[in-house]
Amino acid sequence: MTNVLTIAMPKGRIFEEAVELLRQAGYKLPPEFDDNRKLIIEVPEEGLRFILAKPMDVATYVEHGVADVGIAGKDVLLEEERDVYELLDLKISSCYLAVAGLPNTKMNEVAPRVATKYPNVAEAYFREQGEQVEIIKLNGSIELAPLIGLSDRIVDIVSTGRTLKENGLVEYERIQDVTSRLIVNPVSYRIKDRKIDELVERLHEVVEVL
């Protein structure tokens, strides 16, 4: 198994950009990559195996070592705090984490409520601001929460800001910029060092040009 590198890829938005990046780095990925419902794709010519996971789960697969390497958003790394190496900023899927809400509103003074997919990030952020908030964890369509009175604020990722605008929400604070990162399992980093160093080097060259 030391000859094959398992890479956890995030399905959805980031996937295509990540595949494009790997191709630019000279990895020959078969065309089936572009339209595939498979969860595991083997590329024996390159000594690679890809697993396709939910973006939020990529760091979990890598931490447990079932994937050696993964491509994960910084938002996921901040939220999950997994014990993995963050080796490279791939500078793709750029967006940012922000606080948003209905315009001209203040947070409830007694029990300010924040809805988010990122409970840890949100809690840490408001604590640093000297504010204790109550967190409501949602799994999607976060913008709904302030519109129907579930929360005063939301913490979510924003890429163009269009979704916020279309739903009549405004951004209050920017928390942190987010891009995708190359992450590595600590054991793989040492045991499969040659293959991983090569991957990092090849990706690094591509990323630097961007």
């Binding site: 030391t2 070592g65 014990d83 963050e86 054991v187």
Partner: protein, 390 residues
């Protein structure tokens, strides 16, 4: 709180059923025998310790300690590792004649319960502590014994990655000057966040050469050549001393003939200033987490004696995962007897026990399904009926 089902155990707790127990027992014995052969003496310490003493001195984060209260209101911890309890015993009982002490242990240790699977709250560690010898010979002996005992347990593919606690810290101090800036960089290293580390380095007002030195630290990973590369970026002082220690260690490791399992990695740092010198982690190819770790520490000073020590601990559960493979082959055989030939059966069993053959004695009247029962054994002898057949 929901009602518990009868099969439930507290979160993070595991049973060891007979087949797993056999494997565990075998691995434990093989490692322990090697340690004994090298002259290490086994000790036991209590499962419970005081939070204020052993709990506070331990390398394990406060949040990971399993805490309880005793009847006087003192906070207790289920021992989170064996190093701190052994430091307590050594400082109070074993160091009076100021000689080197070699101790070994196998014990279950406890960590706070976690929701996610794969993180047991109780697991077995087997390890050693070599106390009161400051030489690099001592560090090398512990690493050589680690390798030797793992091999004895049947592990073939593994790697010990060795770093030094003083190196990164001293490099940071040489270049950055202040403790605050050094700590900020060290935090990125500890969090394994190399992206953040590089950004931080680039944000400092430094010469290009100094920036290169800091960035090069991330690449100090590999075989013996790492030592030369490290010497290139460090100036005199503790950091250089650290590298010279590693150089000496490398020579001794080669004399032990175990260098194929050893690599260097100077980016390894421990989370507190817990380790004070050479430190290491053990990796096996097919397990996602380190199977063991160790290093030199000055913990014993917290218990009132001036002495340093070095030691390692291997997680038995991780080691078993690394060894993989099927179950231990069961060689037990069985004597099924009827009451009339009971004495004969007992005599036969005794003879086999004396020869070291695992033998079960079973009264045939106690078994409902003979076929299912005898299938469990490598061999079955029937001593049934009123008459001995000659």
């Amino acid at each position: 709180m929901s009602r518990l089902f009868m099969f439930e155990k507290p979160l993070g707790m595991r049973d060891t059923l007979p087949s797993l127990y056999e494997k565990k027992h075998r691995v434990r014995t093989q490692m322990a025998d090697t340690m004994r052969e090298w002259g290490y003496e086994f000790i036991e310490t209590p499962t419970l310790e005081y939070y204020e003493t052993v709990g506070a001195a331990s390398a394990i984060n406060d949040a990971q300690l399993f805490k309880l209260l005793d009847k006087d209101g003192h906070t207790l911890v289920l021992r989170p590792d064996m190093t701190a309890p052994i430091a307590r015993v050594a400082a109070s009982k074993l160091l009076d004649d100021n000689l080197p002490v070699r101790l070994a242990y196998t014990a279950n240790v406890f960590r706070a319960q976690q929701r996610e699977g794969g993180r047991p709250a109780e697991f077995e560690q087997i390890g050693i502590e070599f106390i009161n010898d400051q030489t690099v010979s001592c560090d090398a002996e512990v690493i050589a014994l680690l390798i030797s005992s793992l091999k004895q347990a049947g592990l073939t593919e593994f790697q010990v990655s060795i770093g030094h606690a003083e190196f990164a810290q001293d490099l940071f101090m040489q270049i950055l000057g202040t403790n605050g800036r050094a700590t900020s960089l060290r935090k990125f290293l500890y969090e394994k966040n190399y992206v953040g580390y590089r950004d931080q380095v680039n944000s400092f007002q430094l010469s290009t050469i100094d920036k290169q030195r800091l960035l090069k630290l991330l690449q100090l990973r590999g075989n013996g050549e790492v030592i030369g590369n490290a010497l290139d970026i460090i100036e005199n002082d503790k950091g250089k001393q650290a590298i010279l220690e590693l150089q000496e260690l490398w020579e001794i490791i080669k004399d032990y003939g175990v260098e194929e399992h050893v690599k260097f990695d100077l980016s390894i740092v421990s989370h507190m200033s817990y380790y004070s010198g050479i430190l290491y982690e053990v990796y096996a190819g097919n397990v996602g987490f380190p199977i063991g770790n160790g290093g030199r520490y000055s913990l014993i000073e917290k218990f009132g004696k001036k002495a340093t020590a070095t030691g390692f601990a291997v997680r038995v559960d991780m080691l078993l995962e690394a060894l993989g493979g099927g179950l231990v082959e069961d060689t037990t055989n069985c004597i099924l007897f009827s009451p009339e030939r009971r004495k004969e059966a007992f005599e036969l069993a005794q003879k086999r026990h004396e020869q070291g053959i695992k033998t079960v004695l079973q009264d045939i009247n106690g078994v409902k399904d003979l076929d299912a029962f005898t299938k469990k054994f490598a061999d079955t002898t029937y001593l049934i009926g009123g008459r001995k057949d000659d």
